[in-house]
């Protein structure tokens, strides 16, 4: 059975259907409707559908490229405040004021006006004589933190998260050809794990990836790694050494994304199956009121070509039944401080720290084997790391001892 099915999938499907009805039966993408401003459909939650590349077009119409979104670093003169004569002339021209005024402006509006250079001005220390409410609250929070001990673990996780988020910031490619294009869009995607632990009821774990508008859907599909892609089928208790040869990703290449009424199927390999066909046929064979679904080739579409709602749950399905909810949370123009190396996208920026299943024996290492009907095990199923599994179940020559069934196990936390 489809044990990994996302629990809300029924609910979600009916949402999608309702949405399609609201669409007035019109074409799903590419037409003039895409040139709308993105606006809320449900306030604070998700937008109405729009064409991704239309957003880039609207922005570029409004901005002065070289000035607003060029990938060159900001002019050094403009950072120091008092610019040279050249800068003053530019200011005078832009504002329509005299050169004299421009010079004075650079002094009056200088950054030094925002800071006293006092003797003891340490950003680590909250000043004693402050009247800012924010600082009062922060002071109390920090004091409370110092008194409690739970900080360490949170701190480690946060450091990890911070490094993950910022590791590629400002990176430039070694080959200039790999430089991200000016005016390119960056999309932020949250891809949820299919696991349903009760502890994740409130907040489902997910990972966050950045993709470029010009990238193909298949590029995301290829870079996205899920534990089920690495699952290895089969019972290997007699031949444990032969176990990990083919991972599921090699064996089952079919996959699809679902966005706004269209299934984008990966059809690059002859062995790929149109996974969406069953769903489409099912929907069409009965009058289920889901409207008409369409099917397209994943490899033919870039993110720019998509017609999507921001904040709305869509779907990625692979391995036949491993379903991931996908939410596009943000789209913006690429910025000089972003990772500018094309080859590093899709870029993983956040990953939920999943609890790993530890070996039952050593309680230290992550499980790599799971056994059933195991005469040595106190529970069924039971999980073991590779070393403990072999030590317990085989003699020094590698002969199987006792009765048990053994399956290779890939822990979702392996990717932490």
């Amino acid at each position: 059975m489809q044990t990994r099915l996302w629990r809300d999938s029924e609910l979600r499907r009916s949402d999608m259907a309702a949405d399609r009805l609201g669409d007035g039966g019109g074409g799903s993408s590419g037409d003039g409707g895409g040139f709308r401003f993105p606006e809320y459909e449900i306030p604070e939650l998700n937008t109405k559908p729009f064409l991704v590349k239309a957003l880039g077009k609207l922005w570029k119409e409004r901005l002065v490229g070289a000035r607003d979104f060029s990938l060159e670093p900001p002019a050094p003169g403009s950072l120091t405040g008092a610019g040279g004569g050249e800068e003053d002339a530019a200011v005078a021209e832009d504002l329509g004021c005299s050169l004299e005024t421009a010079t004075e402006l650079s002094l009056v509006c200088g950054l030094d006006k925002l800071k006293y250079c006092e003797e003891e001005d340490d950003p680590e220390v909250i000043p004693e004589d402050t009247n800012l409410v924010t600082l009062g609250l922060r002071k109390r929070a920090l004091e409370h933190r110092e008194e409690t001990i739970t900080v360490d673990r949170i701190c480690r996780q946060e450091t990890f998260a911070y490094e993950m988020e910022s590791h590629a910031i400002g990176k430039k490619p070694s080959n200039p050809a790999d430089l991200v294009n000016e005016g390119e869009l960056i999309l932020t995607l949250n891809i949820f794990y299919p696991v349903i632990f009760s502890k994740h009821k409130e907040r489902k774990p997910y990972q966050t990836l950045l993709v470029l508008g010009s990238q193909k859907l298949t590029e995301l599909r290829d870079s996205f790694c899920c534990a089920s892609d690495l699952q290895i089928g089969g019972e290997f208790s007699s031949t444990p050494d032969q176990a990990p040869e083919h991972t599921s990703k090699d064996l089952y290449k079919s996959a699809f994304f679902y966005f706004e009424g269209t299934f984008y199927n990966d059809r690059r390999y002859p062995e790929c199956r149109d996974l969406s066909r069953t769903i489409i046929e099912w929907s069409e064979s009965h009058d289920r009121g889901y409207g008409k679904f369409q099917s397209a080739k994943m490899e033919d579409f870039t993110f720019n070509d998509l017609y999507i709602k921001l904040g709305f749950p869509y779907l990625y399905c692979h391995q036949g039944d491993c379903e991931h909810v996908v939410i596009i949370t943000d789209i913006r123009l690429v910025h000089h401080d972003d990772c500018l190396d094309k080859t590093l996208y899709p870029l993983l920026t956040k990953k939920h720290w999943l609890w790993t299943r530890k070996c039952f024996v050593c309680k230290m290492y992550t499980a790599r084997w799971v056994t059933n009907n195991d005469c040595f095990a106190p529970e069924d199923p039971c999980f073991f790391c590779d070393v403990c599994f072999r030590m317990l179940h085989y003699d020094s020559e590698g002969n199987k001892l006792g009765e048990f069934l053994a399956y290779p196990y890939v822990d979702p936390g392996t990717f932490n």
Binding site: P38, W59, S106, V108, L114, L135
Partner: protein, 333 residues
Amino acid sequence: MGTPGGLHSDFETLLTRFQETDSVRFEDFTALWRDMKFHTIFYGRTRHMEKNKFTKEALSLAWKYFLPPYTFQIRVGALYLMYGLYNTQLCQPKQKIRACLKDWDEVMKFQQDLTNAQHYDASYILRKLRLDKAFHFTAMPKPLSYRMKKNIPRTEVTEEFKEPNDRVMKLITADTLEEIMNIHEHYQEMKQIISADKSQPDKALSLIKDEFLVNIKNLVLEHKQWHEDKKKLFTKVKNEDDQKEKEGSSQELEGSERAGALAKIKSKAYSIVTQASKSRRHRQVKLEPLESELVKKLGKTPCSKRNKEKLESEEETSSQIKDFPAPKRKRRC
């Protein structure tokens, strides 16, 4: 995540104090900023993630005050606030200000207002933020992650900072108009009573124009009409926008039509802006069209002479500083 409680109140304290200065000068803003040591708002031994998050929230809260329905002065204050926060933040690289597509058109309108009113310091700072690449140009004001929140906090607008819908209509309502009418009637009656000829007031008592009341009434009605026309034009422009989306082909033509309409409003709105005294300029931006009408109307009646003279004398002062409206010296004169 909601905005940390303190930020809201600290921003409002700063902006309220700025409001009290009756100025839009950066110089006046920085005096308050320094007095409150506002750059220390980022201080304290916090972790990198916390710093990033706090800075993002501070910038996005400041952005809210930068947009309508806040008054022109508050919006200038918010611009300075963003400039201050952006430049004194401790994040490396700096956190950016999220500008979404829908809001950007407001920002451009605002930039035009600044230029037209020759608020060079504010123009300079907006220009500088753009040059420093302080913005992320986004689709929506914030990322949308479909979190099943039980209660989404409503964004409340601080009334004190808000642009009143219509100051004139607030001042002269139908009731006050009726009241004035009654008083006038009473006044005329009193004059008749004390006059020699009881059927008509003495000439010596004729201190105001008889049509004074009718003039006020007409002015108010005219203003109301203007206000409604403006609203209609606004919705018309919006509809044209929608049309444009649908058609797409005749975009340019309609675009220029729209530009023309906007230019008309603007030229009307700023017709005498440069004549206004600089210290009050920020207030007059919105009221100008009415006042220019007033001047025209009142110009016909003798009692308005003084008023006109006053305006002219102001014009004199402003012509003296016309060439140099830079904030520093401006405040001195």
